[in-house]
């Protein structure tokens, strides 16, 4: 437990910093009130608008833990939103709960199929994840535009609107959806052995195979789960705006999601993952977007501002950077880079340098093959 807390410390500090900065600029930033039977306040807004990102980041966490990546989530958002909105718009009774339920179910089902497709490409056909999901990243947008006929489909359906704007006992439905998904995922991976097996395969695929883990099914399942999460995000996003935009719904959200997962402490090289870390990461990324507005950063500088903060977060998370910064204050000097470390030596050395793998381990020197 303490080890996990230590890993979460940096993202927590970053979040605290962001919130403190907001509080300094906007004194009422932490205020939460109930208006018309619904919670209001900047913090609630962050969670409310951050729900789609959070959902996608959760799915992305499992994929990244398996040493993969899913670039297609933004496109899946668009497909899911387009499907749901088209179905509702075309229905005889757009306002009936049954129509909305059918539309949401269809959208989620289609998203699951898209995720399954990604998983099939990666786990069965062994295509590199970044390439495999790039296919759907491009194709998905096209499919979404075909579904909406190239238009922005708007829907007027009270039950559908409520998915985003409704509330349950004063708590916005989006927050309930987010919390339920987190809980469900936690039960699924941490109360079963799924999480352990995923971490084992992501950390060392061959060791996992020799220990008897069936990696293929698990990988397909992870991509499918990621697809469903993206589909759910698509529903929330389109319910929020009451429209489906094949071009712009969920645009670039895959990058924010990857960022959130990484800030949360899950390495892109796979292995151990943290659901709590991902939740924190998603909240941080969303807070950042909110901060841009509350601080009144001019729109033309918003992206640069965001980039600078992200850069600082990444620096904080780099053990090497921390060691360098801490060095003048500590007793020792920063650790000297290992002579065989990849990318550290001058380039002309490369052709005569041994491969870095196994160079330091005497037991692993002379294995043929």
């Amino acid at each position: 437990m303490s080890a996990q807390m230590r890993r979460l410390m940096w993202p927590l500090l970053v979040l605290a910093g962001l919130l403190a900065a907001n509080l300094a600029v906007t004194p009422g930033f932490f205020e939460i009130s109930v208006k018309d039977g619904r919670l209001y306040g900047s913090l609630v807004d962050i969670l409310h608008f951050g729900t789609p990102l959070l959902l996608i980041s959760l799915g992305m966490t499992l994929v990244i833990a398996l040493r993969g990546i899913d670039l297609s989530v933004g496109a899946v958002v668009a497909v899911s939103a387009a499907l749901a909105c088209e179905m509702i718009a075309a229905a005889d009774h757009p306002g009936s709960p049954a129509t909305v339920a059918a539309a949401v179910a269809t959208a989620l089902g289609a998203s699951a199929l898209l995720g399954l497709w990604n998983g099939f490409l990666v786990a069965v056909l062994r295509i590199q994840p970044i390439v495999a999901t790039l296919i759907l990243m491009i194709a998905g947008r096209g499919v979404a535009q075909l579904i909406t006929g190239g238009q922005i489909t708007t829907v007027r359906s009270e039950p559908y609107r409520r998915i985003a704007a409704g509330d349950v006992a004063a708590v916005p439905v989006t927050l309930v959806v987010a919390a339920a998904t987190v809980l469900l995922m936690w039960l699924l991976v941490r109360r079963t052995a799924l999480g352990l097996l995923i971490e084992a395969i992501g950390g060392n695929a061959e060791a996992g195979r020799l220990a008897g883990i069936r990696a293929t099914g698990m990988t397909v399942a992870a991509y499918t789960f990621c697809g469903v999460c993206a589909g759910l995000a698509g529903v929330v996003i389109s319910a929020n705006t009451g429209s489906a935009d094949g071009n712009n719904a969920g645009l670039w959200i895959e990058l924010d999601a990857i960022l959130a997962v990484v800030i949360g402490g899950t390495l892109l090289s796979g292995g151990r993952f943290s659901i709590a870390g991902t939740v924190l990461g998603a909240v941080i990324v969303q807070s950042l977007s909110t901060t841009v507005y509350t601080m009144g950063v001019p729109p033309e500088s918003a992206l640069v501002f965001k980039a600078v903060v992200v850069f600082l977060v990444c620096l904080l998370q780099s053990p090497r950077f921390r060691a360098q910064v801490a060095a003048p204050f500590g007793r020792g000097r920063p650790p000297r880079p290992a002579p065989t470390g990849p990318g550290l030596a001058p380039s002309e050395e490369d052709a005569v340098r041994p491969t870095a793998t196994g160079a330091d381990e005497p037991g692993r020197q002379e294995v043929p093959r």
Binding site: A3, R191, T192, A193, L194, L196, L197, E199, A200, G203, N204, E206, A207, G208, R209, L210, A211, G212, I213, R214, M218, G271, R272, P339, T340, A345, P346, S347, E348, E349, D350, A351, V352, R353, P354, T355, G358, A359, D360, E361, P362, G363, R364, Q365, E366, V367, P368
Partner: protein, 508 residues
């Protein structure tokens, strides 16, 4: 042997420590100009480490190095190059997408008025190639040429550096016979120009063909330096594997000899099991409670034979019966279900998941067998983990410690523990004592003997022949990727007999 006054390289008393293990402990080497010198030793003997000390990859923790008679302090790979030492590694590390000329002259491209001059570069590379009678189109992409030619190109690159010492680390392991011929011709031409060549290989026939002298290492120590003409293969293997009684504690004396007699119905029966490029079809029987050892040199097919039994690689021919029932060898999963367990020789790459804890690593196989929907109850978990950490004396004993931070010996014990928890009926151990310290070695041996006494069948693979003889009831000898003989061991099997089989067995 045309010896000049000063050796090209002289290393003596070299010590190199890695966390938890001393890789080199008084290793040395003397390399004369104009000779091809073999560096020999089994897995973990320290060959690669010694080379890496010479080429500046690892700074030594003790000992002296002199180059051309002058003491040298090699600070890094670049410094080694400046000292005239060039290295060609087993895996070609050039850029297949660049041209041959670009590869040869990478980082030293001849420059003209407008930067790099491709014309002069190609001319220089072509000169180098023709100088060694190689017929190469230097403008073609390196990747268009077979691996052997790529090896030659990496040697050309070394020659352009005007190397006086050329280190060839297992250059022939991926080459076919004709390609080896081309490589040897080139080496011979370089030798006649006075270059000192250090040749690391595990193909002994090639050593006798090419080398004048050889240095043998074992367990990080210098065993001796021999003239090829004065030491036959049989004696050489003896030096490599260690004929004298080991330094280890004696495993409880021969208790395991009371194991069931050879007549017992075998637990495992393999017939005609083989895989092309891996191991020729072989037969194997192992009865419960018996330890069968696989003996042979590195590259003789020991690991390949074991991996087929476990389904880690798919066999082309033959099949396996456990308890008389056929086992489909498609995946390790099927083998595990049949009661087999396999500890890989490569703990890091194929055994442990470094960033998972000791506890998670211990329980991984059991959890995989139960399936993800049936997690081990927390109580069972902690009981099992605690019991095996204690029984195997894993240090540190904290179950949450990441496995990657353990010493080699403790990593090996965690891996062993993972399979002992499964209570396997056949335990396949591939080099379980490699790279671990002497104390841990004795403990692992004791565990293996104890396991067999409880009725587990064991297949034991080790480069240390002494260890194989001490533990095994039966020794299967491999040579050149074939099983050549199987010898019963009633505690009286003679090391000489096994060595003779390893050196000459199955030779037609």
């Amino acid at each position: 042997m045309e010896t000049t006054a000063e050796p090209a390289v002289h290393m003596s008393g070299i010590v190199k420590d890695f966390p938890g293990v001393r890789a080199l402990d008084g290793a040395g080497l003397r390399l004369d100009p104009g000779e091809v010198h073999a560096l020999l030793g089994e897995n973990g003997a320290g060959k690669s480490t010694l080379i890496k000390v010479l080429t500046g990859v690892h700074p030594p923790d003790g000992g002296r190095i002199s180059i051309g008679g002058r003491p040298a302090d090699i600070a890094g790979p670049l410094d080694a190059e400046r000292n005239g030492i060039a290295t060609v590694y087993q895996e070609v590390n050039l850029c297949p997408n660049l041209s041959v000329a670009e590869n040869i002259l990478l980082g030293r491209e001849p420059r003209g008025r407008f930067g790099i001059s491709p014309r002069r570069m190609n001319r220089r590379a072509a000169e180098l190639a023709t100088g060694l009678e190689l017929d190469l189109d230097v403008t073609r992409a390196l990747g268009d040429y077979p691996i052997a030619v790529q090896q030659l190109v990496s040697i050309l690159r070394a020659i352009d550096l005007d190397a006086r010492v050329l280190v060839l680390d297992e250059p022939t392991s991926s080459l076919d016979r004709d390609e080896v011929r081309i490589l040897f011709d080139l080496v011979e031409r370089l030798r006649s120009r006075g270059v000192a060549i250090l040749f690391v290989t595990h193909f002994l026939d090639q050593v006798y063909e090419l080398c004048q002298r050889m240095t043998v290492l074992r367990n990080g120590r210098l065993v001796g330096e021999f003239a090829t003409a004065e030491l036959d293969q049989r004696a050489l293997i003896g030096h490599m594997l260690g004929e004298q009684a080991g330094e280890l504690d004696r495993v409880e004396e021969r208790a395991h000899r009371e194991a069931p007699p050879p007549g017992t119905e075998p637990l495992l029966r393999a017939r005609g099991l083989g895989r092309s490029g891996g191991i020729a079809p072989y037969d194997l029987d192992i009865a419960p409670g018996r330890i069968v050892g696989l003996a042979g040199l590195l590259g003789s097919g020991r690991t390949e034979a074991a991996r087929l039994l476990f389904g880690a690689d798919r066999p082309d021919t033959g099949g396996v019966h456990v308890d008389g029932r056929p086992v489909p060898l498609r995946t390790p999963r099927a083998a595990i279900a049949a009661g087999l367990a396999y500890c890989s020789e490569d703990r890091k790459a194929e055994g442990l998941v470094a960033d998972l804890s000791i506890a998670d690593n211990l329980l991984l196989a059991m959890q995989a067998a139960r399936g993800w929907m049936r997690p081990l109850p927390a109580k069972t978990r902690s009981e099992l983990v605690e019991r095996y950490i204690r029984a195997l004396r894993i240090r540190p004993a904290a179950p949450d410690t990441p496995a990657g931070s353990l010493s080699g010996g403790n990593q090996q014990k965690v891996l062993l523990g993972r399979w002992l928890i499964m209570q396997p009926r056949l335990l396949i151990l591939d080099e379980p004592t490699r790279g671990i310290d002497v104390g841990a070695k004795a403990e692992v041996q004791r565990l293996v003997a104890a396991q067999a006494q409880e009725g587990t069948a064991v297949l034991f693979i080790s480069s240390e022949l002494e260890e194989v003889l001490r533990l095994s009831h039966r020794v299967v000898v491999l040579r050149d990727r074939r099983v050549v003989n199987a010898l019963d061991n009633e505690g009286d099997l003679d090391m000489d007999r096994v060595l003779a089989e390893i050196a000459e067995g199955g030779a037609q």
